[in-house]
Amino acid sequence: MKLKRLLSILIILSTIFLTGCWSSHEVNTLAITVCIGIDKTENGYLVTEQVLNPRAIASKKATAESPVVIYTAEGNDLAEIIRRFTTQSSRVLYNADLRMVVFGEDVAKDGIQNILDYFLRNYEYRTDFYFVIAKNSTANEVLGTLTPIELVPGFSMYISLKMSEEKWAAMKSIRIIELVNSIIADGDNPVLTGIEISQDEISPESTDILKQSGEYKKLKYTGLGAFNKDKLVGWLDEDESKGYNYITDNVKNTIEYADYDSKVKITYEVLNAKSRTKVYFLENKPAIEVKIKTKCNIEIVEGEFDVSAEENKQVLNELLARKVKLLCEKALNKAQKELKTDIFGFGEAIHRKYPKTWEKLKDDWNDKFTDLPVNITVEAETNQLGQITKPLFMKEKE
């Protein structure tokens, strides 16, 4: 009896302790990857990984070491290449803290479907990293660029993308689930933000920079890349990207200016842009109505224009509305006439509202999208005129 009890306790204890810390890794045996860049080569892919060097980042003293280490490997298969990094690194590559995935433009044009499968299937990846496309350069070059202020380029890219989306609204931060969803959907196509390396000839006034060769590289986000399914088909410029975000209800805060006449220019801070997409029938064919409502503050008034006057209020609102509508139409034209891809998800809107009509449309939706009538209406409302009312240099009318 006693023996039996002892034995059962031993068995329970051994099942717990004999497993021997299976799959445990100490933190200092990990190579924390922050960025993965994927480029196309003749044989398959060239993968670049940006790995943190904790000693250089967390050290209180200045070190000569670089905050990140770049590993590159070439191969046919993504998982194989990433595993091959162990031949270069003394530590296990650890991908759960991945911040950014950068696609080379070639890869994006070829289609990213198979790559996404890897990121979705592998248990190690979280779903909170962003995808961007290296525009006019390779992902390898982008990851090799060091950034000022933020020590780790991956973090810098991550924060910058979020901030500029929030404050400038010409970018879109897309995570894996959103990306895959819009590829899968029949009536929707994804967009990804482009990242560029800008080279300034003039170096900033810092002794650190003087140590470099003279040219000063910076990473910069530029407009959105439009996809047809999983293939990159073209780029939207900054205005079009903004228009895209206005239509898809993705503007939180941005700056717009509008010319009243040749002398007067008014700059607005757009605070709260809400857009709603409605489907209706026009001559037995579906049509789209986009209603955008914005609130704004006045940022700058150039020229003689009394923003505080009651009769000008309507003018102010009208000006902004016209500007926003212009941006939206630019984006719409580009998508409909040039790129021929429904990046706005209008097809999905029809699908949701009229599933039966959609059955007939969905097979060659991108062709039909080019002729889709879209009606955009914008309402603007001015909230605050700023700390001063009338422009200081405006002369009172006698």
């Binding site: 497993t19 810390c21 799959s23 100490e26 200092n28 803290d97």
Partner: protein, 524 residues
């Protein structure tokens, strides 16, 4: 379990002594037996005298020199002298009854019939009178009152509230309780336990406020104690505990009369043991070990915050090291990236795995704590200097320990000191190590497994038939007014349900402030 029960039965048989020997009529025989039993070189004093020289009735007063008070003997011999005078002046023959009636007016006196009782009385510091031709004896209390006077409690210090603490003398302890509760319903029952030590134990409760079943249960359990000696209330706790193998204390030990009085008012039963300042109260619930008497003396919002803080400290000291180990060795993905980088940088060059690192530090801390308690006061500063080196920056700079681990150990340590009850903090301390091992082996999965087993155990154990997690685990409606949050006194209208007896109402409906405001003073 069975094994222990068997030995208990065996002890039982040994403890059974022979038949009771009653006191003989012949005083000579009695005295010789006494001297024989105690041995001739003991400090037993036998003093013969006669009340009436003519009739030759022999009396003897017997006492143990070291136990009785000198001045009591002096005054007693004065009184005896008076009695002798009265006898010479023609009083009838003296016997125990007459002596009894004489002394009972003056001091604590009682009579007995057999040797067993006589020895107990003698050894408790009584003066025993034997009279030739009488089959009984008279015991007059003459204990010497040597001992510590009432001082501030050293283990349970407070800021606001009464400072006096219990002492080693049971009578003075009961006095401290009686002074606080002036009620005829406060019952004090005396028992004795320990076959050799014959320690006085007293059971204190308030009639009707305490539940009869609980009082009866404790009484029965105390009656069944069979052991050679009781030297501290911890003995009692260990012997009459519901779940003997549980590490959690199910009796609340307190050094402070005010908290014992408060417990009595909640319907609990206090067990006082002679020779120790720690008084047990039962049934004790889990949540009580996180409460302090001071909670009731401060504003209720402040007290609620303090209690919340203690619950947090309780959880922190339990799971912080285990979680740290689990997260850094198994689940790095749940650490925010900047923190992960910082931890990784600190761990650069540390040669041990996190589990070993944590165990080393925790054990060092436990050794330091233990050494700090046992060591003579004079060398106290030495150990704190060395301790600061071992647990601090020096260890980090030596590259043995990461700085994050020092912080984890420190948080654990200060949190464990925030638990007001020492026994509870000891229990948690031990469980913490088990959780750390589980974390090192199975990660957070192991920690969770350990916590589930812990909660199951807490749900299972009882304190004198009352579930340990009352009023949370058997949920009692309206019973949560005095658990994690302390409600204002005027909201706590009833005594705790499930513990207190028939008299449940605690506070009346009336509010002293409102009723006085009804009669508005007239301004003239």
């Amino acid at each position: 379990m069975k094994f222990f029960k068997k030995t208990a039965v065996k002890n039982n048989e040994i403890n059974e002594t022979g038949p009771v020997i009653s006191i003989s009529r012949d005083i000579k025989e009695n005295i010789s037996r006494l001297e024989n039993d105690f041995g001739h070189d003991s400090d037993l004093v036998v003093h013969y005298f006669k009340f009436d020289n003519n009739r030759g009735l022999i009396c003897a007063n017997i006492y143990i020199k070291s136990l009785v008070d000198r001045s009591t003997i002096n005054s007693l011999s004065n009184e005896l002298g008076k009695l002798k005078c009265e006898c010479r002046n023609g009083k009838p023959g003296i016997n125990i009854d007459a002596l009894m009636s004489y002394f009972s007016g003056l001091r604590d006196a009682k009579e007995g019939f057999d040797y067993e009782a006589l020895y107990t009385d003698l050894l408790s510091g009584n003066i025993v009178f034997l009279i030739d031709g009488c089959k009984k004896y008279l015991a007059v209390a003459a204990n010497s009152d040597e001992g510590r006077s009432i001082e501030a409690s050293s283990a349970q210090t407070i800021v606001r509230g009464p400072k006096d603490g219990f002492t080693e003398k049971i009578n003075s302890n009961i006095m401290l309780i009686r002074k606080r509760i002036k009620s005829k319903d406060l019952k004090v029952e005396y028992l004795s336990a320990g076959s050799i030590t014959k320690t006085t134990i007293s059971l204190v409760y308030i009639h009707k406020i305490a539940r009869d079943e609980i009082v009866q249960e404790i009484r029965t359990r105390l009656g069944k104690i069979e052991i050679d000696g009781i030297l501290e209330s911890g003995y009692i706790e260990e012997l009459i505990k519901d779940d003997r193998y549980s590490i959690f204390p199910t009796f609340l030990s307190s050094e402070k009369p005010d908290s014992v009085a408060a417990a009595l008012l909640e319907g609990k039963v206090a067990i006082l043991v002679d020779g120790t300042p720690y008084v047990l109260t039962a049934p004790a619930l889990m949540i009580e070990f996180l409460q302090s008497s001071e909670d009731y003396y401060h504003h209720y919002i402040v007290s609620s915050m303090m209690r919340f803080l203690r619950v947090m400290a309780f959880l922190l000291t339990l799971i912080v090291p285990a979680t740290y180990i689990a997260v850094t060795t198994f689940h790095q993905e749940i650490i925010p990236t900047p923190l992960l980088v910082s931890i990784a940088a600190q761990r650069e060059g540390v040669p041990f795995p996190a589990l070993l690192e944590a165990l080393m530090m925790e054990i060092t801390f436990e050794i330091l704590r233990e050494a700090g308690i046992r060591m003579p006061r004079a060398i106290g500063p030495a150990i704190s200097i060395v301790g600061a080196l071992v647990l601090g920056q020096a260890a980090v700079e030596a590259g043995i320990i990461s700085a994050a681990m020092v912080i984890v150990v420190s948080i654990t340590a200060i949190s464990s000191f925030a638990i007001p009850n020492y026994e509870m903090s000891n229990a948690i301390r031990l469980i913490r190590f088990i959780l750390m091992l589980l974390a090192g082996v199975l990660g957070l999965y192991g920690v969770l497994m350990g916590l589930i087993v812990l909660v199951l155990h807490l749900c299972k154990i009882k304190s004198i038939t009352v579930p340990y997690l009352t009023p949370i685990a058997p949920k009692i409606k309206g019973g949560n007014k005095d658990t994690i949050f302390r409600f204002p006194l005027w909201k706590m209208k009833y005594r705790p349900i499930g513990i207190s007896g028939t008299d449940a109402a605690r506070a009346g409906e009336g509010n002293p402030v409102n009723s006085s405001q009804k009669e508005k003073p007239e301004f003239r």
